[in-house]
Amino acid sequence: MRKFVLHYLLPRILQYFTVIFLGITVTFIIPRLSPTDPVEAQVSMILSSGSAVDPEAIEHMRAALTEMYGLSGSPVEQYIAFWGRLLRGDLGPSLSTFPTPVTQLIGQALPWTLGLMLAAVILSWIIGNILGALASYYPKNKLIYAIDIMSQAVRPIPYYVVALVLLVVFAYLIPIFPFSGAYPVGTRPSLTPNFVLIYLKHSALPALTLILVGFGGWFIGMKSLTSNIISEDYVVYAETTGIKERKILTQYIMRNAMLPQITGLGLSLGTVFSGALIMEVVFQYPGMGMLTLQAIFRNDYSLIMGIAIYSIIGVATSVFLMDLIYPLFDPRVRYQ
């Protein structure tokens, strides 16, 4: 147990804090290195909106904005204050929907993205792994070969382009799925069976985008992992003893190839999250991606800052949780 904590748990906890520390530090540094001063940008935007404001009020506003952006004091002081506010969970008010706190806006958007991402990641992982194992176990099967080609052809295409193609084909040319959103305008999200059905129908294409791009990687990974195992002595022995093919495939082959794939699941979350953001923009899905787009269009600096910070902490935490679950699958880690 001591060895487990020392050699497995401790490095992971350290890594978790390194990711968050580095990520937050980068988001702290970026605005300060940028040639645009967010305070001046905001002031000039308000001035250009045409209203006449007296110079004293502008000066007052400038001071308030400097305070709000955490730009007062020396860089070290700013940095400490930045962490202080973060640890209190205070990301400041959103500028475009003043004075709604940024955390509240993110809180409303996050569940949509999370639900979609979770479903898509799990589905693509399962589908990719099963098909990948089948592909190396039945190399002559035409259907699986066709899926192989298809998955590898979609894999390099950016999420945005795949989403666009799916949208045009399945909502525009062959209109079987709704064009945009997570539910029609005018309905209120609720937990009735009817709404769930509408929600599923609206989420089908966004989820399909993530799955199509995602499962090729798991597929090719599982295929190469199992291709080594298939010729192992114990598999050949199991085959000669007449154990059912299905059992050999799941219990003997796939189980032994699973571990790197579980590790990969954690590592892929950051990329999938980025993909989900841009995919939402195409489908106008009301999650973090749409929130980001709104923030960009409305010049809402504090909201973008909040989204970046939330994304880093969120993804790092999910990766950390995956690491904590990992020993359940790998007995070697548990019994060190």
Binding site: L14, Q15, T18, V19, L22, G23, V26, T27, I30, P31, S34, P35, T36, P38, Q152, A153, R155, P156, I157, P158, Y159, Y160, V161, L164, V165, V168, Y172, G266, L267, L269, G270, T271, F273, S274, L277, I278, V281, T292, L293, A295, I296, Y301, I304, M305, I307, A308, S311, I312, V315, A316, V319
Partner: protein
Amino acid sequence: MSIFRIIRDLLKYDSRFRIAFVFLSAILIMMLLSFVSPYSPNKTFVVAMDMPPSLEHPFGTSSRGQDIFWWMTFAVRNSFLLGIVTAVLSRVIAIIVGLMAGYEGGWIDKILMAINDSFVVMPLLPILILLGFLLRGKMNFFTLGLILGIFGWPWDARLIRSQVLSLKERSFTRTAVYSGTHPFWITIHEHLPFVLPIVFATTINNMLWSIGMEVTLSVLGLSDVGTPTIGTALFWANQHGALVAGVWWWIAAPTFIAIILFLGLYLLFSSINEYIDPRTRLRLIGG
């Protein structure tokens, strides 16, 4: 073996390489055509607006009165150039970090890899969006390449490091150490040549990543939208509501070209990757 023989062999035996060759040749021809374009990409309203594809305008014309085919020749060239700029910069960082971490080991390795792994799991898009947002209007084409280059190295640094770890245990490294070669020259003269084939393969992979990132950032309006790229083509089409207005060819052209470019690069990557991997080569000759 000369490079031409490698290409000839790959063309003969690897169907993926053949497809990649055709796709990338088409892309290359498009890039070269940009030098003889009859229209400047910066001028708007030089041809009739919203014309569907025809013999005169193979990809149609846009609502900004530009010939989409000729405009796309510049876009492909710029996107490709961006990929190269990003790849070169991030390769330099990846090679330095990978060689150092792999050869030195110990604390240097631990610290470098901790930073490396943090960048691997971090969601880069929100950070790049923050950057793009703050640099909006000031972002030019090369700044974008630089920024992407700074963020694009971690996956490959780890790959190079793992290669060096195994090279370090080979006898030639020991011979070099015992004969008093400076560690710097061991990594440069003895290890780097072994690592270069992987560097080449990852270059292509990195270009896929950066060109894709450019599309994403441009669609959000966060890149230099004045420069024609695959991403800005989609940005302008969206700005003019091309799909709603029925000008579908404006969306279709960049999408189609993006698919050709990405598939071509990816197939080239996987073909070369397999070629330089000694295990698969052994399997091919039945060893």
